[in-house]
């Protein structure tokens, strides 16, 4: 569906993108993950034809964005990071404009507005001025605008920034729902978002792709590279951490506060798999209550990849 080859973009002498290549197949939900300033927004802007690339090509459904921007733009619904809205228009006027700009008129237009509003839960706010809407509703209007011409591809730049937890869940559900029928590319720097909605994730840092794969696979890779164990024993925290530090292979011990009275919990970072040694030694000196492998979170994945 989308094929990006050797994409580069320079802002003056600053290289924002250095050789980005990836493919997105039809019906896939792809996450672009990266810290702020990594090049996510630039990549998306080039995909939508808003920015020109310094080098490289983008093919969408077989059409080059640089040569046939109008054809490609008709296939894409785009929601920039800041929902692009006219505060002085009502929701209906805004969507009316968005539809007509895509050449949708008459009865079809009204139907498109109604469908987009139903999908995004805006029906009851249709005649509100956009300046009167909350941030969450504005984001929905932005999404409704991106959906108005029923595009095959949705490009969403940080669709949940600035929303409250309930709104975030709603928008994610909506994206998952839309992802069943459409190809979706979304950018984010929130790990849970990737785990919650994406089929595949590309991690970008400083204009380069540093990792690619299913969210679970990336976590598993990091898991193999890091060894973290959670230990809970009966006893004093100080004694336990001192004891743990002396075990061969342990790199670092972190106290974890908040364990019940009389028990101590610590996080052990090791350089190799030391589970057997750890169990034996701890069991011989303390009353061992818990010993478990700490799962690498997406945060760890992210931190290890973008270091």
């Amino acid at each position: 569906m989308i094929s990006v080859k050797a994409l580069q973009k320079n802002y003056g002498s600053f290289p924002a993108l250095k050789d980005i290549s990836f493919d997105v197949s039809s019906g896939e939900v792809l996450g672009l993950l990266g810290p702020n300033g990594a090049g996510k927004t630039t990549t998306m802007r080039i995909l939508t034809g808003f920015l020109g690339a310094s080098a490289g090509t983008v093919l969408v459904d077989g059409h080059a964005v640089a040569d046939q921007p109008e054809v490609v733009q008709a296939l894409i619904g785009y929601l920039p990071e800041q929902a692009p809205l006219y505060p002085d228009l009502s929701v209906h006027e805004h969507l009316d404009f968005a539809a007509e700009v895509h050449g949708i008129t008459g009865a079809k237009k009204e139907k498109a507005i109604r469908t987009a509003c139903e999908q995004t839960g805006l029906t009851e706010r249709l005649y509100f001025a956009i300046s009167e809407l909350s941030k969450g509703y504005r984001q929905r209007v932005g999404l409704a605008q991106a959906l108005i011409h029923d595009p095959k591809i949705l490009i969403l730049d940080e669709p949940t920034t600035g929303l409250d937890p309930n709104q975030i869940l709603e928008i994610r559900e909506l994206i998952t729902e839309l992802g069943e029928k459409k190809t979706v590319i979304l950018s984010t720097h929130i790990m849970q978002e990737v785990e919650a909605v994406c089929d595949r994730v590309i991690v970008i840092n400083e204009g380069k792709i540093v990792a690619e794969g299913a969210p679970g696979d990336l976590a598993a890779d990091t898991q193999r590279a890091t060894h973290q164990y959670r230990v809970t024993v009966q006893g004093a925290v100080g004694a336990v951490t001192e004891f743990l530090k002396k075990i061969k292979g342990v790199e670092r011990v972190e106290k974890i506060p908040g364990s019940p009275r009389g028990t101590a919990t610590a996080l052990v970072y090791a350089s190799s798999d030391i589970r057997t040694v750890l169990t034996k030694k701890l069991a011989s000196s303390f009353d061992l209550l818990e010993l478990s492998t700490e799962k690498a979170s997406m945060e760890d994945v992210f931190a290890s990849l973008t270091k």
């Binding site: 920015l51 109008e70 920039p80 006027e93 968005a98 605008q145």
Partner: protein, 236 residues
């Protein structure tokens, strides 16, 4: 045509959904009528020369107020991204914005048409001169609009757009007037007069519509619309 028409309608809605349109129309009609009637009964002549004579000065402040937001706001709100990634080409967007402001100017000038009508009943009005005056006002207005639009394309700050448009339009307008040209060597004066927005207007409101004057305004407008296109294109 639908997308272009949609853009024109959106721009007009933005004028009329906000106080801008009403403030503009009120200030325009109040100022122009006041300037006009202030001298009208003293002079006792049934013509609109006073009205057309003051129009460039009223336009000088009102038209940049009309155009200052056209690009600057799109950029500040981020709507420029959806606008330029819609099925409209950049050429159409530039044209649509110009047509919208020009239509608004048409509405304002149409509202001032009560002046010649009332004078028509008081004395014998030379309708030819009046219509030439309106043609001149529209041509001058179109030039101000395309220039203001161009300046708005260069910034995301409305106030910067407003002030720089006013200053440069003012300079371009007085360029050919004797207050500027009296100190210049004689052979340069015709060039200054030719490039001045003011001298062509003076000729038209006297009732003489010369194709050279019309061409001047049309090419001035076209040139800055083209610059506008280049300015936005360069930012992509």
């Amino acid at each position: 045509m639908t997308p272009l028409f949609a853009l024109v309608r959106k721009e007009l809605r933005l004028y009329f959904n906000s106080p801008i349109a009403y403030i503009f129309l009120t200030v325009f009609l109040a100022l122009s009528s006041w300037f006009f009637f202030r001298g009208f009964f003293l002079v006792g002549q049934a013509d609109l020369r006073g009205f057309f004579g003051f129009l460039p000065w009223i336009f000088l402040f009102l038209i940049p107020a009309l155009t200052m937001r056209l690009w600057a706001e799109e950029r500040r709100q981020g709507t420029i991204e959806t606008l330029l990634t819609s099925s409209l080409s950049l050429r159409q967007v530039v044209l649509g914005k110009f047509v919208a402001s020009f239509s608004f100017l048409l509405i304002a000038l149409a509202a001032s048409f009560t002046l010649p009508i009332s004078i028509h009943f008081i004395g014998s009005l030379d309708w030819g001169v009046v219509l030439a005056g309106y043609v001149g006002a529209l041509l001058l207005g179109a030039s101000y609009i395309s220039f203001g639009l161009f300046v708005s394309a260069l910034t995301s700050n409305q106030i910067v757009a407003f002030i720089s448009s006013v200053i440069v339009l003012f300079l371009l307008f007085i360029l050919g007037q004797s207050i500027v040209t009296f100190a210049l060597p004689g052979f340069i004066v015709p060039f200054f007069e030719f490039f001045s927005l003011g001298s062509h207007y003076d000729a038209i409101i006297r009732g003489v519509i010369d194709t050279r004057d019309v061409l001047y305004y049309l090419s001035f407008s076209a040139l800055f619309l083209y610059f506008n296109y280049l300015a936005i294109n360069a930012q992509k």
